[in-house]
């Protein structure tokens, strides 16, 4: 009797043993169903975590590949530390290469003095960071450029075939492990050749766009939030404003692209420039900025406002010196999260004319531009076995940028967190 009670957790009334047994079996079945259900609901959580892990792993693995390269130049490689200087990296490596080819100091000085010679050398040769399989890891390599006939293998596939590949190497060939995401990747401009491609113009483009987005959306967004929280009377106009903001938040981002294309690019005749992109993205993130700022402003307790009014301050003085300083944490967090979204946006910028290939670095808000996600999109779309590796490297950069932004947002929220 007492055993049954502990087993089912139901107080044992001990009236009818037969009924009790049947009831107990039913209760056990109900319990079992509950346990199964509990485990079933855990599955989606695990699946989601597995997908995130797989995604990151796939991108990291995709950014490294085994390659058989022609080294019919001198094919010299140099230990990483020798060539690595924050500035002038490739000059240093090229200098070492020229020494290895038997040039004297004077010849080398003359070589670097003549920009045309340098240009020709760079057009014909590549200087890049690689894991040299034969020598010590991570080395600079100077090879003659190669546009076709490169064997390119994924990380695992290449590892499996490593011994065969090494055995089948011809005299002037090298097997290298190419990390596509390296220091040089950030410094190189876009190119039609995978190994020459870099993220420089896209990085600068993203930076320009983001700075302008903040400049445009911060005052408008915070202004709207202040109006709705502190000024707006409770009337139809205000309710319409709120309804409108809620609906704007649900408009697909590509529709903002259509708006930007029609209004900024065509009607205002800006053309496909940074300013048009920044204005489009500002409108896109505006609802989120407003909603976040409103929450932050609303969290400031009314007693602070009343105290300020009691001292004779006007409404604006109260907002500027009491409300905003106390809401700054929430506002900044909201802005950072919105900016993180804007950095990853691709679709609207395809419409307002971010170019896949920008030969010159952007110089002003009226320059043609590309941004990191657009560059990634165009690399994925390229029909070439090597470009997916470049895309992976670009994605790594984008994810690192986002990670930094999210961490900063997290820190700001912690730092300014207040309970009243």
């Amino acid at each position: 009797m007492s055993e049954a009670a502990t087993e089912t957790g139901v107080p044992d009334v001990g009236a009818n043993n037969l009924l009790d047994a049947r009831e107990r079996a039913r209760l056990a079945a109900r319990r079992r169903r509950g346990a199964v259900f509990r485990w079933l609901t855990l599955v989606p959580v695990l699946l989601a975590i597995a997908l995130i892990t797989t995604l990151f792993a796939d991108i990291a693995i995709g950014s490294i590949s085994w390659q058989v390269i022609e080294a019919n130049n001198s094919g010299q490689d140099f230990a990483w530390s020798e060539g690595f200087r924050p500035l002038g990296t490739w000059q240093r490596v090229v200098g070492l290469e020229l020494v290895a080819q038997g040039m004297s100091e004077a010849d080398i000085d003359a070589f670097f003095g003549d920009s045309e010679t340098v240009r020709k050398f760079r057009a014909r040769n590549r200087v890049e960071l690689m894991w040299s399989v034969n020598g010590r890891p991570l080395r600079w390599l100077v090879t003659s450029s190669r546009d076709d006939g490169v064997d390119d293998l994924g990380l695992f596939e290449g590892w499996r075939q490593r011994s065969e590949l090494l055995a089948s190497l011809e005299a002037d060939q090298l097997l290298v492990l190419n990390p596509w995401f390296d220091v040089a990747f950030l410094g190189k401009n876009a190119s039609r050749t995978p190994v020459m491609s870099g993220l420089m113009s896209a990085l600068l483009g993203s930076l320009w766009v983001i700075v302008l987005v903040i400049v445009i959306s911060l005052p408008i967004g915070v202004g709207t939030a202040i109006y709705l929280e502190e000024y707006a009377p409770d009337n139809t106009v205000t309710r319409f404003l709120e309804l409108n903001l809620r609906n704007l938040a649900g408009v697909p981002s590509i529709v903002y692209g259509i708006l930007g294309l029609a209004v900024f690019v065509r009607l205002m005749n800006l053309g496909p420039v940074i300013l048009a992109a920044a204005m489009t993205l500002s409108l896109l993130i505006l609802p989120v900025v407003v909603i976040a700022s409103r929450e932050a402003i609303r969290a400031v307790p009314d007693s602070l406002r009343q105290a300020s009014y009691g001292l004779g301050a006007t409404r604006w003085q109260t907002i500027g010196r009491v409300v905003l300083p106390n809401a700054v944490g929430g506002i900044v967090t909201g802005i950072i999260l919105s900016v993180a979204r804007a950095i990853g946006e691709t679709a609207p910028l395809l419409l307002v004319g971010a170019a896949a290939f920008v030969p010159r670095l952007p110089e002003s808000p009226l320059s043609p531009y590309t941004v990191i996600p657009i560059q990634i999109f165009s690399w994925i779309s390229e029909n070439d076995v090597e470009f997916p590796h470049v895309a992976s490297a670009g994605i790594l950069v984008l994810l690192v940028v986002l990670l930094v932004l999210y961490s900063v947002a997290f820190y700001v929220r912690r730092r300014f967190e207040r309970t009243w």
């Binding site: 109900r30 995709g62 709207t224 993180a340 994605i395």
Partner: protein
């Protein structure tokens, strides 16, 4: 202090007060202008879409009848081969959305139930941000993953699966909408008052029965709203379908075929350098108008669901 001095000081104070009042008024006006920019945005979106769509249908080559009944969508082709039936784009969009919902809704609701009802608050605080990562990953990255990881993974399992197909795009999109479903559902399940649960326990219900017969039904309005919002997200999503589902309008319901969606057509038309005012360019706006209308209706429905059927406790 003489009387005249006192007067001067009072006058200066009054002038300052008047200046302050003027400034206050101007600031109020400036803030209202900020607030009205969002309304201007809506007006501009509707004006742009409407005017270009009217121009699109005003073209003698296009008829309403063809738009809704033709089975082909080829506005970027040469003049003699052009057809303007939106059906293939809508079928493509619906197919991808359907797969995304089949994947995303059960996963989202399941994880919401686990996190809200079975996991402790500590676990919830740790896991929810991890799920939010899925919504924070740029969609171009998810498109890359669908095209270069999921499709090659599925190809040996599903014979006849094209390189570009709605299946892998839809699966990845399902994971993208998972946090939308789960976070709203968690919020509405957390809002179900303790007294309801306690009452059910008091009647002898097991945890499972409390969750499925009390908490989920009580939170149903929020859960439905999250489903509709997720659907609207899936319809409007662009980069995953552009990269992984293809750009060939195709009236089919075969999950292995290359298709185009409304959003991927917009990208295709916009990146192809169609001159402004051409019929091809206007077709982009017409599709955009259809997309905008669909997502707007869904968003409004989702808000109405919350307002109408949302139970207010306390």
């Amino acid at each position: 202090m003489t009387g005249s001095e006192r007067q001067r000081i009072r006058a200066a104070g009054l002038a300052r007060g008047a200046g302050r009042n003027r400034r206050e008024t101007w600031i109020g006006v400036a803030l209202f202008v900020c607030a009205s920019i969002s309304v201007l945005t809506t007006v501009a979106v509707i004006a742009v879409l409407a005017s270009e769509t009217v121009a699109f249908f005003g073209d003698p080559a296009v008829t309403f009848r063809e738009f809704f009944t033709s089975r082909e969508w080829t506005p970027l082709f040469a003049e003699s081969q052009r057809h303007f039936g939106i059906a293939p784009l809508v079928s493509g969009t619906l197919m991808v959305t359907f797969i995304a919902l089949v994947v995303g809704l059960p996963l989202g609701l399941g994880s919401a139930i686990f996190l809200s009802e079975f996991a402790g608050s500590g676990t919830r605080r740790r896991i929810v941000p991890v799920l939010e990562v899925l919504a924070g990953i740029p969609t171009v990255v998810l498109g890359y993953f669908a095209l270069l990881f999921v499709t090659p993974l599925l190809q040996p399992l599903i014979p006849g699966l094209r390189l570009f197909n709605p299946l892998s795009a839809g699966i990845v999109m399902g994971f993208m909408i998972l946090p939308t479903v789960s976070s709203i559902s968690i919020d509405s399940m957390q809002a179900v008052p303790r007294s309801l649960r306690e009452a059910a326990y008091g009647l002898g219900a097991t945890k499972f029965e409390v969750v499925t017969k009390v908490v989920v039904p009580a939170a149903l309005s929020g859960i439905m709203a999250s489903f509709i919002l997720a659907m609207s997200r899936a319809i409007g999503e662009t980069m995953i379908v552009t990269l992984a589902a293809g750009q060939r309008p195709n009236l089919t319901f075969d999950l292995r075929e290359t298709i185009a969606t409304m959003t991927s057509f917009i990208v295709q038309a916009a990146t192809g350098d169609q001159p402004a005012g051409s019929l091809a360019s206007r077709s982009l706006f017409a599709v955009g108008a259809a997309l905008f209308t669909m997502t707007l209706i869904l968003n409004v429905i989702s808000q109405q669901v919350v307002r109408r059927f949302g139970e207010k406790y306390e």
